[in-house]
């Protein structure tokens, strides 16, 4: 069949889709089997076969959970694990995040243990330039863990953040963390966001 070899554009797209999906399945299978080996700690043939059956079952049942639309309204599908294939960039991000966590915690410890508690809580609101859902979520959890701030709400790329002291939102105002996350997931680098400060619920945008 010579005609079938000339693939049209949508067919190519679907082939690429299949390739990425296959990578996702294989990666998930390997990861889950590694987790199984760590949990089980027994390497007899019986246990290995049992593990293979269980891990195959779970991979078959839940692969489409990890493979979904990357953007809320968009068509491009992508997998969580495929995004994490760029693990060397993640390896650079994690130590930076850990240092930021330690610094933020020393600040919180200072504020809590200070006899007069010099805090001045405030809400921050800004709209991010990140487009992928996974990078938005990573940014939100990093915000919760790091610079004196807790992410309260996230709707369609607009964050509401609570900060103990207004100057601890400095990292967010300069957009440093956002660009770090964009580097990992190959997302769009954006301008530093416009940040609004609000001192009560009524000043927040609905």
């Amino acid at each position: 069949m010579r005609e079938e070899r000339r693939t049209s554009e949508p067919q190519k797209a679907s082939q690429r889709y299949g390739y990425r999906r296959l990578i996702s399945v294989a990666f998930q299978f390997a990861l889950l089997f590694g987790i199984w080996l760590i949990f089980s700690g027994r390497f007899g043939l019986k246990y290995l076969v049992m593990g293979l059956i269980c891990v195959s079952l779970v991979t078959f049942l839940t692969n489409d959970l990890l493979y979904y639309r990357a953007r809320p309204g968009g068509k491009a599908e992508s997998g969580v694990l495929v995004e994490f294939m760029s693990w060397w960039r993640l390896l650079l991000y994690v130590p930076w995040l850990f240092l930021a966590i330690v610094k933020a915690n020393l600040q919180v410890a200072y504020l809590v243990l200070h006899p007069r508690m010099p805090i001045d809580p405030v809400f921050l609101q800004f709209r991010t330039g990140l487009r992928k859902r996974l990078s938005q979520v990573t940014l939100a959890n990093s915000i919760t863990l790091t610079p004196g701030t807790v992410s309260v709400n996230l709707e369609e790329g607009r964050y509401t953040v609570h900060a103990l002291v207004p100057r601890s939102g400095q990292d967010l105002v300069e957009g440093r963390m956002q660009n770090k996350v964009a580097e990992i997931f190959l997302d769009e680098q954006a301008e530093p966001p416009q940040v609004r400060f609000a001192h009560s619920l009524e000043e927040l945008e609905p």
Binding site: N105, P121, T146, V150, V152, T160
Partner: protein, 101 residues
């Protein structure tokens, strides 16, 4: 190795104490989430690293690392869920200085 593990464990206990004191001392709900979301997570992470070092290079240490990753992902998410519920049900925040006054 033992000394390193002891240092990790003691600093983890210090941050857990900070989170506990923060939960009691801080004035309102949104401030208390800082104590839970940050200090508690770091305290748990440091303690688990210390215990894994103390345990040595066996499979049990890898299990401890799995718990570490789980706590580091799940704790901020749970804090966010409770915080968001509070925001949407209209809980007002505490401020030191009202703007304009």
């Amino acid at each position: 190795m033992t000394i390193l593990a002891a240092i990790f464990i003691l600093s983890g206990v210090f941050f857990m104490t900070v989170s506990c004191l923060g939960l009691i001392r801080l004035p309102d709900f949104y401030s208390r989430t800082h104590a839970v979301g940050k200090s508690e997570t770091l305290g748990a992470i440091l303690l688990l690293i210390g215990l894994a070092l103390h345990n040595g290079f066996v499979l049990g240490s890898l299990k401890l690392l799995i718990i570490l990753v789980f706590v580091a992902i799940a704790n901020p998410t749970a804090t966010h869920a409770i915080c968001r519920a509070a925001l949407r049900s209209g809980l007002q925040l505490w401020t030191r200085s009202k703007p304009g006054s």
